[in-house]
C-alpha cells in the first residue's frame, strides 16, 4: 500500500448476470480526506460502496480498504470501518442508550469504554434525556446524527456514509456536515455518497459515476474549471447528460 492511501481501487467490477453495475472503476482515497462519491440514481454508487464495505463480492478487479483486501479479508475490513446506510438502521425498539451499548459490544469495546463513549456522545450531541427514549420515537434528524455517532463509536479508520442527509432539513444537514468535518479533522476518512450538489462542494475531492463508470474525479474547484461551470450542479448535469 502506497504512503497514506486508505482506499485503493483498481478496475473494480461488479456484474449481475449480463448487467454490469460497476464497470472497472479505479481511484484512491487518502487518509483524513472527505471523499464525495456522486452519481445519479442507479449509476452504481451503492453497489460500489457495498463492495468496499465487504458485504458484496466484486466480480473482478482489485481493492484494498484500510489495508485489507476486499476479496479475502472482508471481516478485517469490517473491524476498521463505520457504515451508515440510506435506510436508518439502528434498532427502533431499543433506546438510544441501548443501541450505543449494543453496537459498542458488537465492535468489542469494553464496558468502561462504552460508558465513556456514551457520555461523550450525550455531551456532544446534547442528547440529555433523549438517551433513554426509544430510537423509533425520535425525529429523523436526530436519528441520523445518532446513527453517525454510532458509526464512529469504535474509532474506525474510514466511515462510509450512504446518502446520510436524505430527507433531512437544511439546518440538520448543516449540523451534520459540521460533524463530518469534525471527525475528518481528527483523522477519520469520510467516504460519502450524496444527491445534494451543494454538499459535493464541501468535499475535498469528488468522483462522479455515470452508468457504472467514474467519469470525473478531482477537487470540486478543478472540476468546475474543467467543465466551465459555476457550481457542482452544472458539472453534474453536464456529465450525467453526456
Amino acid at each position: 500500500m502506497k504512503n497514506n492511501n486508505v482506499i485503493e481501487v483498481e478496475n473494480l467490477t461488479k456484474k449481475f448476470g449480463d448487467f454490469t453495475a460497476v464497470n472497472s472503476i479505479t481511484f484512491e482515497v487518502k487518509k483524513g480526506e472527505i471523499f464525495g462519491f456522486l452519481g445519479a440514481n442507479g449509476a452504481g454508487k451503492t453497489t460500489a460502496m457495498k463492495m468496499l464495505i465487504g458485504i458484496s463480492k466484486p466480480t473482478s478487479g482489485k481493492a484494498q480498504v484500510a489495508g485489507f483486501n476486499v476479496f479475502t479479508q472482508p471481516e478485517d475490513i469490517k473491524k476498521n470501518i463505520g457504515y451508515m446506510s440510506q435506510k436508518f438502521a439502528l434498532y427502533d425498539d431499543l433506546t438510544v442508550k441501548e443501541n450505543i451499548t449494543f453496537f459498542g459490544g458488537i465492535y468489542g469495546l469494553s464496558r468502561a469504554k462504552i460508558k465513556e463513549k456514551r457520555s461523550e456522545l450525550v455531551e456532544e450531541l446534547g442528547l440529555g434525556d433523549i438517551v433513554n427514549e426509544l430510537v423509533g420515537s425520535l425525529p429523523l434528524g436526530w436519528k441520523q446524527k445518532i446513527s453517525f455517532s454510532i458509526a464512529l463509536l469504535h474509532s474506525p479508520t474510514i466511515v462510509f456514509l450512504d446518502e446520510p442527509t436524505g430527507g433531512v432539513d437544511p439546518i440538520t444537514r448543516r449540523q451534520f456536515w459540521e460533524m463530518i468535518y469534525k471527525s475528518a479533522n481528527s483523522g477519520t476518512t469520510i467516504f460519502v455518497t450524496t444527491h445534494y450538489m451543494d454538499e459535493a462542494e464541501y468535499c475535498d475531492r469528488v468522483s462522479i459515476m455515470v452508468d457504472g463508470k467514474i467519469e470525473a474525479l478531482d477537487t470540486p474547484k478543478k472540476l468546475k474549471e474543467h467543465y466551465k461551470a459555476d457550481n457542482m450542479n452544472e458539472v453534474f448535469l453536464k456529465l450525467a447528460r453526456g
Binding site: I53, G54, E75, K78, K87, A89, I106, Y107, G108
Partner: protein, 353 residues
C-alpha cells in the same frame, strides 16, 4: 406482541383440547319399524338408552326417512323388517338395515361401531332369553374380549390430546417467530447494518436463537401447567426429562425457522413457507391420525417430522412414565436433526453476497 404470544396459544390449548375429540355423541338417530313388536321396540329402546344416540324421529316408510337424511335432519336410519320378532323366535337369521350419513367418513365409521355394539348386545341378550335351559348347557360359550386400556384407563381423549396440542403450539409459535425474525431485519435494513459489523456468523445466529429458545420453554411451562390444572392430565414421568428433550427439540425448530428466513426476502414469503411445513408436520405427526395406518411412503416421510418425535416423547413421558432410555431413539434423531438444521442456518446466512 408479548401478550399475544402467550394469550393466543393458551386460548388455543383450552379450546382445542375440549373440541378436538374423536368421540361422537348426540348422533341423530331415526328408525323405520315395519314390525312393531316388543322385540323391535326393545331394540330401539336400547338405542334410546345409549348416551351416543338421540332418537329424533320415527318414519312410517323408508322413503320419508331418506328424505330426512337428505335434508340433514338425521344421521342414522335403522330399518327393522317385518317378521323381525317372528324370525328371531324361530331362531332364524334376520337382517336389519342401517343407513349412515357418511359425509364425514371418520365419524360414520365410529357410528357404525357403536351401532354394531348395541345390536350385538341385543342379539346376545335375546338369545339368552329365547334359549331353553337345556340348550344353555350345551350351547357353545361365546368368546368375550375384556379390553383393559393401559396408560389411559378411561380412554379419556383429553389425556391423549392435550400433550399433543401443547407440542403443536410450542412448535408453531417458535417456528413462526424465528422464521420471521431475520426477514424482518432484512426489511427494516438493520440486517445490512449487522453485516457491516465484524460480528461472527455463529454469534449472530446464537443471538437470534436464544430469546426464542427461552420463549419456547416458557410456553411449554405455561402449557404443562394448564394441562395439569385445567385438564388434570397425568404427568407420570419426569418433567425434567421433558424439558431436557425440549431443549434439543426447540433447536431443531428454531434452526429451521432461521434457515427459512435466510432464503426469503419478505415476511410474507417466510410466513407462507413456515405454514407449508407446519401443516405437513401437524397432519403427519401421528397426533390426529395414527402413523401406522399411513401408506408406507408417508411413514418414511414422517421420519423427517420433528413434531412426531416431540408428540411421542411427551405422550410417553407424561402418560407412561418413560425413562431416559425409552426416549433415546427419539432423542438421538432430534439431536442429529438439530445439528443439521443449525448447521444449515449458519451456512446459509451470508454476510457477504
Amino acid at each position: 406482541m408479548l401478550p399475544i404470544i402467550f394469550v393466543l396459544p393458551i386460548l388455543q390449548l383450552v379450546i382445542l383440547s375440549n373440541a378436538a375429540t374423536f368421540e361422537i355423541k348426540n348422533i341423530k338417530f331415526s328408525y323405520v319399524d315395519h314390525d312393531k313388536t316388543s322385540f323391535s321396540r326393545a331394540l330401539i329402546e336400547k338405542f334410546d338408552a345409549s348416551t351416543y344416540f338421540n332418537v329424533v324421529a320415527e318414519f312410517p316408510s323408508k322413503k320419508e326417512a331418506n328424505a330426512a337424511m337428505a335434508k340433514g335432519k338425521v344421521d342414522v336410519i335403522l330399518e327393522i323388517p317385518r317378521y323381525f320378532e317372528r324370525d328371531l323366535l324361530k331362531q332364524k337369521n334376520t337382517d336389519i338395515s342401517v343407513a349412515i350419513n357418511a359425509i364425514d367418513g371418520a365419524a360414520a365409521g365410529v357410528e357404525n361401531v357403536y351401532i354394531n355394539q348395541i345390536v350385538q348386545d341385543f342379539n346376545k341378550k335375546s338369545k339368552v332369553a329365547l334359549s331353553s335351559p337345556t340348550d344353555m348347557v350345551n350351547a357353545p360359550k361365546d368368546i368375550v374380549t375384556i379390553p383393559s386400556f393401559w396408560y389411559n384407563k378411561t380412554l379419556n381423549y383429553k389425556t391423549f390430546m392435550v400433550p399433543g396440542i401443547l407440542v403443536l403450539l410450542v412448535t408453531m409459535i417458535t417456528l413462526f417467530l424465528s422464521g420471521m425474525n431475520i426477514v424482518r431485519e432484512k426489511e427494516i435494513g438493520t440486517l445490512e447494518q449487522m453485516n457491516v459489523t465484524p460480528i461472527k456468523k455463529y454469534q449472530f445466529i446464537i443471538g437470534k436463537l436464544f430469546p426464542f429458545w427461552i420463549l419456547g420453554f416458557v410456553l411449554l411451562t405455561v402449557g404443562l401447567t394448564i394441562a395439569k390444572v385445567i385438564f388434570d392430565v397425568p404427568i407420570i414421568g419426569s418433567l425434567g426429562l421433558i424439558y431436557f428433550y425440549t431443549a434439543f427439540y426447540l433447536l431443531v425448530v428454531l434452526g429451521m425457522g432461521l434457515f427459512i428466513s435466510n432464503f426469503t426476502d419478505t415476511q410474507q414469503q417466510a410466513m407462507f413457507i413456515s405454514w407449508f411445513f407446519v401443516v405437513i408436520f401437524i397432519l403427519m405427526s401421528g397426533l390426529f391420525t395414527p402413523i401406522e395406518s399411513m401408506p408406507m411412503w408417508a411413514q418414511y416421510v414422517t421420519e423427517f417430522n420433528p413434531v412426531k418425535y416431540f408428540v411421542q416423547v411427551t405422550r410417553m413421558v407424561m402418560l407412561k412414565g418413560a425413562h431416559f432410555n425409552d426416549i433415546l431413539p427419539q432423542l438421538t434423531k432430534t439431536i442429529i436433526y438439530a445439528i443439521i438444521m443449525n448447521g444449515l442456518a449458519v451456512w446459509s446466512y451470508q454476510k457477504t453476497t
